[in-house]
Symmetry: C2
Subunit: 156 residues, 2 copies
């Protein structure tokens, strides 16, 4: 495990994301870390994140998988190059596709654990498979195809 989250290395320009930006005061501020070859994040849903009373709405789970996986894609790319995440040039990923299978209702009260593994890594594309667990039970599985950020999305 590492002390500093992947997202804490993002430069200011990339730190406003609703899902994982440390500078988005209204957002989820997801933080992801390595645990060996797996990445993980912990997240405590709030009452407002419900689908129906007692259960988390699906969009939150999709958001957590999405942000955790793009963060994992970046972290894995730095690691592949033997670099720490605070070195230049920066490596950023965006989501090309997101697949989520909802396996069981996700309780609202439990802390959620999101775990990811990289199943494919090239310079342009990283595939991350993720699962979301509550009380040790897998509630959702996801698969994200992350691609290197296109220049058109960079600020001029």
């Amino acid at each position: 495990m590492t002390d500093k989250a992947f997202q804490e290395y993002y430069p200011e320009e990339f730190s406003h994301c609703y899902g994982c930006g440390r500078l988005n005061a209204n957002g989820l501020q997801l933080k992801s870390y390595w645990d060996g070859d797996e990445s993980y994040a912990l997240f405590q849903p709030e009452q407002k994140h419900m689908a129906i009373p007692g259960f988390v709405y699906g969009g939150l789970i999709a958001s957590l998988i999405d942000c955790h996986s793009t963060g994992t894609a970046a972290a894995a790319s730095y690691r592949e190059q033997g670099r720490t995440m605070d070195t230049e040039p920066g490596i950023r990923f965006v989501t090309a596709s997101l697949q989520v299978d909802y396996l069981a209702p996700t309780p609202l009260e439990a802390q959620l654990e999101i775990r990811g593994i990289v199943t494919e890594l090239t310079q342009k594309k990283v595939i991350v498979e993720a699962k979301v667990m509550a009380d040790g039970k897998v509630c959702a599985k996801g698969r994200v195809v992350a691609v290197r950020l296109p220049e058109s999305m960079r600020k001029k």
Copy 2:
């Protein structure tokens, strides 16, 4: 087009969803309608919903597709039975799987239009294909497999 949104027919128990619940004061309150055989919803992202400055974060798009599609699944099932949505027994759907392909960066300033079509409908399962457009351009496509709400998620 109809005057009343699908979600406005949901009973109180199902009106707390962060994505589409009319009673969730902190949520997105998505509202979906018929336009012939297509369903549609309009949504104006807020500044906080950004991925990076100027663009919408992926989790919002996933949330909109998810809630719009489960709403469409319910509405289509009532329509198939020749019933209005305020008749009993109630028909509710939850998401079994969600697939989103992000085709182009989605601008934050534009009003988003989500459109859905039902491609499969049985008593237990409805498949909805959806797209998210901004300024007339398709930014994302989605596919939701919605299944009838399991009894385990109903309040006792």
